[in-house]
């Protein structure tokens, strides 16, 4: 059984939003809403500064609050770890938006259903392609693959680098990990 994992290397990420544009075009996301964005945050006092680039999208929790609270079963999980939404079952009650600790869900103004990142499973990954964001990333900051495949790129990264998970203390066990930014903050 495949188990999909995505890793965002914050050291390689340059915040260019190529991922965001690719996602919107691939998944026909209307204006005003996003499945993925990269947030750039500068901190410190001149000249001791640091800019972090963090990915804002669904983190594919193994223990998904959005699935537990969904009253209609519209939010559901595949055995490969990907959480999806069945538009036909969604009644837009927004319980899942409230339950999601990652602020990753939104109301799609066209479909009127709740929407979020799908790791492009229905349209690309199930065909053997990589998610649109991973495919276009100019600096290869996104790594995607099957954790159950010993030779996969994600396993190589997990073996060689320290990968953290957003809000790990909540115990939701995300499948979107990140490599923390180490640059910035030490100047003359």
């Amino acid at each position: 059984m495949k188990k999909f994992v995505m890793i965002h290397d914050e050291n390689l990420c340059i915040g260019c939003e190529a991922c965001s544009v690719a996602c919107k075009n691939e998944n026909q996301i209307p204006s005003g809403v996003f499945r993925v964005q990269v947030h750039a945050k500068m901190k410190g006092v001149f000249p001791n500064l640091q800019t972090d680039f963090t990915r804002a999208s669904c983190v594919m929790c193994e223990d998904s609050p959005c699935v537990s609270v969904c009253p209609t079963g519209a939010s559901f999980k595949l055995a490969n770890g990907i959480t999806l939404i069945d538009e036909n079952l969604c009644v837009s009650c927004k319980y899942c938006i409230l339950a999601c600790p990652y602020n990753a869900r939104f109301l799609n103004p066209i479909t009127k259903a709740i929407d979020k990142c799908t790791f492009c499973y229905p349209n690309r990954v199930s065909d053997g392609l990589t998610p649109a964001c991973v495919s276009v990333c100019p600096t290869d900051a996104l790594i995607f693959g099957d954790i159950n495949d010993n030779n996969s790129e994600v396993n190589k990264v997990l073996a060689s680098k320290s990968v953290e998970y957003p809000k790990a203390h909540l115990g939701t066990k995300p499948k979107l990990g990140f490599i923390k930014n180490t640059k910035g903050g030490r100047y003359e």
Binding site: I14, E17, S31, D140
Partner: protein, 752 residues
């Protein structure tokens, strides 16, 4: 102007395509879905791309996986090519002005009528005032080629590209110093010194990818000198917030230290360089202490850095950047970078700088025609040998070293206004937004109003087009075929992905048609782009077929550095023809060829010294960009937009819909400003109203703006009168020797 609902039109075309899917040579892969391999045009870089097309509608763009350097990568702008194609504000019919100039009153016209009007007017003007009275401006790339061919056929020498507003300096400096262009080996370097070459915002994917990996590696050092904490600064191992305009002082002190301590590659300099004595004299007094008060970087720091770079050499790149338009002393700044590289002996070394090994060069190195080469059907067109308005290429003129095919944009408006050296009557522009991208907008506006006739070719009704008499809508790059171009050791080609939306034509067809209508086409050996391509390929149909099918053809060749014995040995295994050229020390010195007058790297340039006294070697004349103003306004690129080209595209506009001015938070509070306050930035050239963005990420004496906003064109509905056009406060005086536009400029802030 009527709003044209061509989305409806494209849906209609889409349904036709289902019935009769005859589109191009590309095979359909899955029902009515196909991939077309082509070349991006969302900026000037030209990345190879793959376009997914469904029902004749472009749906997704990623990099061409067959191009191993980029693979499927594409930036936000590249991905948004689809959204530009279907932008409702695009031009899709020729327009003829009916109101006063700039009043934005138009009527739609047929191509026959519009082109006839252009042909008649241009013929009339030539007869009355001579061909030189028409000027021609263009963006980079193929638009420039076809426009230049037409201008030459017409008989005007006044041809301009975007060169002087962007890369002119590094091109000229490398030509003067090394005899030609060079590449930077970002992938294998150990130490990179970056003077604000922000590859993470002004993205060139192949270089950005290498630099990102370099920056993330633990055994390399990226040093960034820049007044702003940009993304490239944020990824640096060390960031020095240098005072704007003072790079030249830092570099001259660096060179001073190396020469003082004799820490440079003496063997290389003795063998391959001339002018060491003049260089020594020019940096005699530029000590670490001297630069301290100019740059704001301590003497200790620069001593440490000089040592670090020397120890890492030759795996060192001192990066000359891309947009080389900082100060009037830009030529000296970039020259100092070129010289610093030479002293580190990194030429033709792995991890240093090297000549590009394209198919032509490889054939020469190997001594056999192994790889196919191209012909250039445009070669027959020569710029007329008559005086230009900017004097480019003329002895005694400040623009002597500037190519007569590129010219100096900032000299256009003064020439029109002064009628010197002769009156200008008309302006033909293709895809270049002179009123946003060129300094001194107020002067340009006055000049444009003096003209009898203006033609603008564009995909939007841009600020410049808005003042034209005839606007010709060009097809977007996804709707047109183009010629073959060189990439790395191979070729690539722009292939049409979808049928034309509305009634647009390619730049190629527009200029070719005009030339035939005006009966000035005797030099043209082609009428269609297919004929042009075939002449380029010298009848090599296999090459053409592969370029149509895959968009790119590259040849697997081992990498080769002419002073790196290991790579030479490897190369000789595949190409034993080079064996007898290898020296006893394993290098290929007989192939090292500097095309300068001295056949050496020129640390001192006699031909420059003769024409521009004191500029033959390094100096610090006029590096000051503040000129008695409190702040220096700097500008740069964002990864979301390309210069003044993409701001209206809905998906990109949503990500970045305006451009406030960065100001240091502490300084702003001292002055009583809050985040979002409206202010005027003002100087002797003009005044712009901007919104302030308070941030810690900039020096207290520096302001920064992402260039490209502040449009007057009502047709650009998403950006009309939003943000500020920074070119309004830039002066039209250019840099010494290189004639570059100067984009770092002194301004004062006044409350609006």
């Amino acid at each position: 102007m009527q709003r044209r609902e061509f989305l409806k039109g494209s849906a209609f075309l889409g349904s036709l395509a289902c019935i009769n899917p005859v589109l191009s040579a590309n095979a359909f892969t899955k029902g009515d879905k196909k991939s077309v391999f082509s070349v991006c045009e969302m900026c000037s870089t030209r990345c190879p791309i793959e376009i997914s097309v469904k029902d004749n509608k472009g749906v997704f763009i990623n990099g061409n996986p067959k191009f191993s350097t980029n693979k499927t990568s594409v930036c936000a702008r590249g991905g948004a090519g689809i959204n530009q194609l279907y932008d409702k504000n695009r031009l899709i019919k020729p327009l003829i002005r009916v109101g006063k100039r700039g009043e934005n009153k138009w009527r739609e016209a047929s191509w026959d009528e519009a082109l006839n009007l252009v042909a008649t007017k241009l013929n009339e003007i030539k007869e009355k005032h001579g061909a030189s009275s028409v000027i021609f401006t263009s963006k980079a790339g193929e638009s420039h080629t076809h426009m230049s061919n037409f201008a030459c056929a017409y008989g005007s020498p006044n041809i301009f590209s975007h060169y002087s507003s962007c890369p002119i300096t590094y091109n000229m400096v490398l030509e003067h110093t090394y005899g030609g262009g060079l590449s930077r080996d970002f992938a294998n370097a150990k130490y990179i010194v970056n003077f604000g070459h922000n590859l993470f915002e002004g993205i060139v994917i192949s270089d950005a990818k290498k630099l990102a990996k370099f920056a993330a590696a633990s055994d390399t050092k990226l040093l960034v000198l820049e007044p702003r904490f940009s993304v490239v600064a944020a990824k640096a191992d060390e960031w020095l917030p240098i005072k704007p305009g003072t790079d030249v002082a830092f570099l001259m002190a660096l060179i001073h230290i190396w020469l003082r301590d004799e820490k440079y590659d003496k063997e290389f300099v003795n063998e391959y360089c001339i002018g060491l004595d003049e260089l020594k004299a020019s940096v005699k007094d530029t000590s670490p202490k001297w630069q301290e008060s100019i740059t704001g970087i301590s003497a200790d720091t620069i001593e440490r850095i000089a040592d670090e770079i020397y120890k890492a050499a030759p795996k060192v790149v001192i990066d000359w950047g891309h947009k080389t338009t900082t100060t009037y002393a830009e030529y000296q700044r970039t020259r100092a970078i070129a010289i610093a590289n030479a002293l580190m002996g990194n030429y033709e070394k792995k991890g240093g700088i090297h000549t590009s090994k394209n198919t032509n060069t490889l054939n020469k190195i190997i001594g056999e025609d192994i790889f196919p080469t191209l012909d250039n059907p445009s070669n027959v067109f020569k710029v007329p040998n008559t005086p230009r308005i900017d004097g480019a290429g003329e002895v005694g003129n400040k623009n002597y070293f500037v190519s007569r095919k590129h010219g100096v944009l900032m000299d256009i408006a003064p020439a029109i206004l002064s009628k010197k050296p002769y009156p200008i009557k008309a302006w033909v522009n293709t895809r270049f937004n002179h009123l946003v991208n060129v300094a001194n907008v107020n002067e340009s506006l006055k000049a444009i109003n003096e003209l009898d006739f203006i033609v603008s070719i564009d995909i939007y009704l841009n600020d410049f087009s808005n003042l034209a008499d005839v606007v010709l809508p060009e097809s977007s790059y996804l709707e047109r075929d183009e010629s073959i171009a060189t990439i790395g050791n191979g070729y690539y080609m722009r292939n049409k992905a979808v049928e034309v939306i509305g009634d647009t034509k390619s730049g190629f067809d527009i200029f070719r048609k005009l030339a035939s209508m005006m009966k000035i086409d005797e030099l043209y050996t082609y009428t269609t782009i297919d004929e042009y391509r075939m002449q380029q390929a010298k009848g090599n149909v296999d090459l053409l077929a592969n370029l149509k099918k895959d968009g790119i053809v590259t040849y697997k060749v081992p990498s080769l550095y002419l002073r790196e014995p290991k790579t030479i040995k490897e190369f000789a295994k595949t190409y034993p023809q080079i064996k007898d050229k290898i020296d006893s020390n394993g290098e290929l010195s007989s192939l090292i060829n500097f095309k300068t007058p001295s056949k050496k790297i020129e640390l001192f340039i006699e031909k420059v010294e003769n024409l521009f006294p004191t500029h033959g070697c390094l100096n610090t004349t006029d590096y000051d960009v503040f000129k008695n103003h409190e702040f220096c306004l700097t500008s740069g690129k964002t990864p979301i937009h390309t210069n003044a080209h993409t701001q209206n595209i809905p998906i990109l506009n949503e990500l970045m819909s305006e451009s406030p001015v960065w100001i240091n938070e502490t300084k702003a509070k001292e002055l009583g400003f809050k985040d979002g306050d409206l202010v005027y930035l003002e100087n002797e050239f003009g005044k712009i109203q901007v919104k302030l963005m308070l941030t810690q990420g900039i020096r207290p004496d520096t302001l920064f703006i992402y260039h490209g906003f502040g449009r007057n064109t009502p047709a650009l509905k998403n950006i009309h009168e939003i943000g500020a056009n920074d070119s309004i406060v830039l002066g039209s005086r250019s840099g010494y020797v290189c004639s570059t536009m100067v984009t770092n400029i002194g301004v004062d802030i006044k409350r609006a």
